[in-house]
Structure formats: structure tokens, C-alpha cells
Symmetry: C2
Subunit: 201 residues, 2 copies
DNA sequence: TTGCTTTTGAAACGCTTGTTTCATATAATT
DNA sequence: AATTATATGAAACAAGCGTTTCAAAAGCAA
């Protein structure tokens, strides 16, 4: 499971800890402790903590991109593609069994950008935003202005990310029992229906 | 403008700096520097950094609550109330002239909750969530289940908060020019229309 | 083996952090 | 005015931080 390569082990451990505590909150001793390597390895394989962080974010984004190959048969109705996309995104954001630190690390980078942010947008955000915008172009009447496409995309992604970024508040508002009943499939269905009606489909 | 009371000055300065850098990222020397007081004042007026943080969040939430008195004449159509609510929220989230650190501090607490979180939800979140839920009860058919009300509320708030929490990414995606054109009024109108259509109004 | 490079380990170095100390200044009380 | 309580200031503290050092270990070519 865990790789032998110290460099890889550092990236894995750093991903978990940076995601959990943020850049400042995480200490290199925490990281090398979980990775099971000597502290000098940070300086040896990466130059310093900051470089380790940037490489970690890129590593996480790269690992996330792999499983994102949503491909539909030609002729698939755009509404169905939208539903798939939303469901897929929510599953990735909320499924606790998957290595959640990937999404959380990315989410953290999005809200408190560092040097890794621009690169992350280029490698990770833009490709999948292109997919969503493509679907919306099919759903909305031809000639819809670019701005409207983006605003609609933001409305969709905003709904999805809310359940991830505001998780603790939702839990407090709904109560633990009710919160447990919010499975990703239910949420995806709600957001899809909400969005499709908003688009007049 | 700035109060004479060292305690108040500390709360103001701490609000700005905690909002900007988070709890770990902010240093007490940063704070006492901006407040213009001696470092011993932190220990004197509050016990330590953590207590200062909790008091700061409560202080900020309290200050925010004051101007939240959205009162409508009886008989106002719920769609109009919704528009007002969304516009008001977006203005508070995005207007750079206002002391933005209030919202940002609260946002930060929501996504990375600490000891101050539960109290914040009780004092700050629940009251205004009640307002929104009340409007939705008017908009949606009677007998709509509680869960559906909440999901709808999350869809609305999620759309609004997205522009605040993902601001850097939006800027990168749209480009600086296009981003500058996104004034709160435009966004509020989009979200309102999007939501009203989704609700079939 | 020998000699060289690459990798690891334990320790220490500065530096910054939150916190404390204590002497002094200011205000309040009698 | 004298005395006590309150507030401030400058300095230092101990702990934790990122980073560096350097010698020993491991890998590898000749």
C-alpha cells in the first residue's frame, strides 16, 4: 500500500496533514512522522516546506484527475450528462471512504490560495470547467452569452461545494440524525432537479 | 474611529488579522502591532491567544447581527423578499468598502470550525436561516417537507457563498477584466432569477 | 575490494512563537 | 496625601518551528 520511495511517502503524508491542518498548522515533524522518514528527507527531496506543499498539491490534483474521465456516448441528452457530473462531483466531495484529503486539500487551496493556486487552476479546474460549460451550451439556447454560461456554472458548482465547505455548519443546523440521511445521491438529485428547472428544461 | 479602550482595539485588530491569516497564521505580535498596544495587554484583557480568538469571533458576529434587520411590510410578495435577502447577503459578502473581515472571519470559522463555532451558529446563523426558511415556506407549496426546505435554502446560500469563498478561482477563471464586471447587484439578480425559476414561481 | 556518489540518521542551529515576569506608571480610594 | 488597586511597558522565557550540518550507511561502478 504505502510506497517504499521516501519521496512518495512524504507526498502522501503531506497531503493528509496539509489537508487537515493547512500550511501553517502542519509541521514538518508531523509529516515526516507519519511518513516514517527522517526529517532531513524534506530538505533532500524537496527544498523546503513550501516546495513540499506545492508539489503535494500538484500530486493530489494529478491523482484526482485520473479518475475524472467522464465520457458519454454521443447523443446522450445533456440533462443526463449534467446529472452524472453533479453526482460524480458530490461523491468525490463527500464520500468519507475515499482518501478525502485530496478534495479537502484542493478545497483549501481554492479558498486560501498560495503559489500552487494558479497551477492548480490550469491543470485541475479548467479542464473540468470546460466539460461543464460544454454541457451548459447544449442545455441553454444558442447564442447565450459567455457570462451567463459562467454564472450558471457557478450556481451549480456553488451548490455542490457548499455541502463540502460548510459541512460542520450543516451538521449543527440539521442535527446529527438528519445530517446522516443526506447521502450524496439524494443531494445530487436535488441539485440536478433544481438546476434543470432553473434552466427551463 | 478607533476606540481608546485597549480591549476594543485588540478585538478590532484581531478581527482583521485572524480573518486574513487564520488562527495559526496570525501572530499576537501582528495583532498588538496593529492595535497599537503592548503585548502584555493580550494576557491582561484576555487570557491567551485562543480566548482572544473566541471573543473576537463573538464580537464580529455580534457586530454583524446589528445591521441584519431586514423587515418587510406585511403582504410583501415572498419573491421580493427573497431578492432582497440575496442582494443583502451578496453585498455584505462582496462589498470591499465595508469591513470585509467580519464576513471573512465568519466564513473561515464556518469552514474550519473551532470552539467558537457552535456559539456562532446559535447566535448568527440560525436567526437568519429562520428568515430564509420562512420565505421559502411562502414560496413552496404548503406541506413541503422540512428536508426539502433546507435543501432549497442550501442551494441558495451555496450560490451566494461561492462568490466569496472561491473568489480567487473565479478571478483566475474569468480573467481580471471580466471579474471586475461582476458587481453584487448583477450576481444577486442572476441568483434570484435562477432560484425563482427552479422553484417554479 | 576500492573509491565514489547517493541516501539516511541524529543532533543542533537560529529564529519565531505564545506566554510570563516584574518594575513602573496611572488611577482610584480612604 | 497616603495607600491601594489597576494598567502599561520592556524584557526575557521556554517551547516549537523550519532548516542545516555532518558523519555514517547504503548503493554502485571500476
Amino acid at each position: 500500500m504505502t510506497p517504499e520511495n521516501p519521496r512518495e511517502r512524504l507526498l502522501e503524508a503531506a497531503g493528509e496533514i496539509f489537508a487537515e491542518k493547512g500550511f501553517k498548522g502542519a509541521t514538518v515533524r508531523d509529516i515526516i512522522d507519519r511518513a516514517g522518514v527522517n526529517i532531513a528527507a524534506v530538505n533532500y527531496y524537496f527544498r523546503d516546506k513550501k516546495s513540499l506543499y506545492i508539489e503535494t498539491v500538484k500530486h493530489a490534483a494529478c491523482g484526482e484527475s485520473e479518475d475524472a474521465h467522464l465520457a458519454w456516448a454521443p447523443g446522450t441528452p445533456p440533462a443526463e450528462k449534467l446529472r452524472d457530473l453533479i453526482r460524480f462531483q458530490l461523491l468525490k466531495l463527500l464520500d468519507p471512504s475515499r482518501p478525502a484529503w485530496l478534495s479537502r486539500l484542493i478545497m483549501r487551496e481554492l479558498t486560501q490560495p498560495s503559489a500552487a493556486c494558479a497551477e492548480l487552476v490550469r491543470e485541475y479546474i479548467e479542464p473540468r470547467s470546460k466539460v461543464l460549460l460544454g454541457i451548459l451550451r447544449e442545455l441553454l439556447p444558442p447564442g447565450t452569452p459567455r457570462r451567463k454560461l459562467y454564472l450558471t456554472a457557478f450556481s451549480i458548482v456553488g451548490q455542490c461545494h457548499f455541502y463540502c465547505s460548510h459541512k460542520p455548519i450543516i451538521r449543527l443546523l440539521l442535527g446529527e440524525d438528519e445530517y446522516q440521511r443526506l447521502d450524496p445521491a439524494t443531494l445530487a438529485e436535488h441539485i440536478t432537479q433544481f438546476t434543470l428547472r432553473a434552466l427551463g428544461a
